[in-house]
Amino acid sequence: MSWLLSLPLFIPFVAGVVSFLLKDGPGGRWASVLGSAAMLVASGALMTTVLREGVVAGQMGGWPAPFGISLVADYLSAVMVVITAITALAVSIYAMADVEARIARLGYHALFQILIAGVAGAFLTGDLFNLYVWFEVMLIASFGLLVMGGSKEQIDGGVKYVALNLVSTILFLTGIGLMYGMTGTLNMADLALIVPTLENQGLVTVVAMMFMVAFGVKAAVFPLFFWLPAAYHTPSFSTSAVFAGLLTKVGVYALIRMFTLVFVGDISFTHEVLLWVACFTMVTGVLGAAAQNDFRKILSFHIVSQIGYMILGLALMTPLAIVGAVFYLVHHIIVKANLFLVAGVASKIAGSTELKRIGGLYATAPLLAVLFLVPAFSLAGFPPLSGFWAKFILVKATLEDGRGFVAFIALAVGALTIFSMTKIWAEAFWSPHPDNQEPKLSTLSKGERRALLMPIAGLAVLTCIIGLFPEPFVQFAEGSAAQLLDSSAYIEAVLGVSE
C-alpha cells in the first residue's frame, strides 16, 4: 500500500532527475512528458484503490504512526493527485513548444517535475511537518521557474512572490512549533484526536488563526493575495498555467484539510472569519480583474476571486457546501490552467497579451476561439459546463444555510466574471487587430501548433465531460465531503484505532 501512495511522488522526482541530466537535448522535455504520463497512471491506480477500499494510509521507512511519516489518501487527496497529474501532463506537452531552448537548457523541465512532486507530496502527506517540507520543495521549484529567463518583469514579480511566500512559510513553521508544544505530535490524525482534549482551547484557536494566515497567503485570499497578480503574468505561459492551476489550490487544500480535521473545535469563530474572508476575496478579485487590460492579469485576478468560492464552501461547513468546495476545486484547476494556456497561444500568434494591442483572433484561429469559450464560460458559470454545477451547488448550500446575502455576492461575482470574459472575447478575438496586422498562424510550425493545441483541447473536453455528466463527479464529491466531515475513517486508516 505504501508503494502505491509514494509512486506519485517517486515518479516526478525520477523524471526530474532524468530530465535534468538530458536537459541539453530534446530528451529533457520528453522525460518530463513521459514522467507526467507515468504519474497519471500511478495516480489513477491510487484512485481506483481509494474508491474500492476507502481511506488508505502507508508509513515511510516502516516506522509506525504517529512516530513515522504517514502518507494518506482519502477521496480528496486522491482526486487532487489525479488532477495534478492531468495538469502536469497537459502543461508538459504544452511546454515542449512554449519553452525556449535557452530556458530548457537551464533545466526548466526538471524543475517543473520537482514542482509537481512538491504539489503531489503536499496532497498526500499525513504529517504536519512533512507538509511544510513539501511546501518548501514546491516553493523552491516555483522560485526557480518564476525567474527563469531573468527579464526585468520576472525579477520584479519574483521579488514580491518570494518575499510574501517566505513570510507565510515562517508563520506556518511557528504554528507547527506551537502545535507541537501543545500536543507533542505532528501527525494529523493524531492531532485530530488530541486537540479536542486540550484544556486550553483558546490557544488552539490562536494557532488555528496562524495556520489560516499562513495557508491564506498560499491560497491568495483577501487581504493576503497581493503577490499573485504581481507575479503570475510575468513568467512563461507554461509556468503561469501550472502555477494558476495548482499552487494556490495547495493552500486551499491545506485549509480544507486542517479546518475539517484538526481545527473544528471553535467553528463559530474560525469559520465565520473564513466566511468573511471568502466574500471579500470573491469581490476584490473580480473587481481587480475588471480594472485590468491584460489577458494574463485579468486571469490572475480571477484566480483570487475563484479561490473565494472554495473558501466559502469550507466556511459554511455543511455537507452540501463541502461538496461544492471539492467540486469547485477540481473544476477550477482544469479551467484556469486551460485559460492560461489559451492566453499563451493567443500571445504567440497575435504578438502580445495586452488586450488593446491584439485582435482578430477569431478570424485567424476559430478553433482557438472555441477552445477559449469553453473554459471562459465554465469559469463564469454557464450551463452546461463544469463551472455551472460548481456554482450551483455552492449557492444552493449558501441559501440552505440561510445566508441570502452571501449567495447574492456569489452570484454577482459570477456576473462580473462574465463581464471580464466578454471583454477578453471582444478585444482579443472579435474586434479587428488595432494595427491592421492580422495575427498569423504561420508563425507557429505544425509541430508547435499540435503541442500547443492538444492539451488545450484535452482540458476543454474534460470541462465539457464534467459539465454534461456531472452525476458521478457530484457523487464522488459527496463521498469526499462525507469523509471530510466525519474524520473517523481517516484516523482509523492512519493510526489503526477508531475514535
Binding site: F143, I155, D156, L166, I170, L173, G177, A230, A231, D294
Partner: protein, 119 residues
C-alpha cells in the same frame, strides 16, 4: 529557561518586524532571517528544555538510560534551518539580481511588473 527563551523569541520577532516594515529589500531580508530564527527557537522551546543527556543509546542497550533531551524538535529545527538556508541563499541571489537589473532595492520603486499607469 523556557520563559527566558520565550522572551528571546519575542525580542527577535519584534526586531524582525521592525526590519520587515522597511521599504529596503535587504532590510526586509534581514528581518526574515531574524524571524525564521525566532520560529526555529520556538520549535526548540516547545520540545521542553531539560538538562538531560544527549539522546544517544549506549552500546548493548535498547533504549536510552536516564533523562535524555527530546530529539524530535532538534531534528525538526535542523530540517527547518537547512531549508531556510536554501531559501535565503536563493533570496539573496535574487536580491542581487534585482539590484543589478532594476537599479534599486526600494520596494516602492519596483513597479516594472505592475506599472502605475497601465497602458
Amino acid at each position: 529557561m523556557e520563559v527566558l527563551l520565550s522572551l528571546v523569541v519575542g525580542a527577535l520577532v519584534a526586531a524582525a518586524i521592525y526590519l520587515m516594515l522597511s521599504r529596503d529589500l535587504l532590510r526586509f531580508l534581514f528581518g526574515l532571517i531574524l524571524i525564521s530564527n525566532a520560529a526555529n527557537l520556538s520549535i526548540f522551546v516547545s520540545g521542553r528544555l531539560i538538562s538531560g543527556a544527549p539522546p544517544l543509546i549506549e552500546k548493548g542497550q535498547d533504549f536510552p538510560v536516564g533523562e535524555v533531551a527530546n530529539a524530535l524538535p532538534q531534528a525538526l529545527v535542523l530540517t527547518a534551518i537547512v531549508i531556510g538556508f536554501g531559501l535565503f541563499a536563493f533570496a539573496l541571489v535574487l536580491t542581487l539580481r534585482a539590484y543589478r537589473s532594476l537599479g534599486t532595492l526600494d520596494t516602492d520603486e519596483m513597479r516594472v511588473a505592475e506599472p502605475k499607469d497601465p497602458s
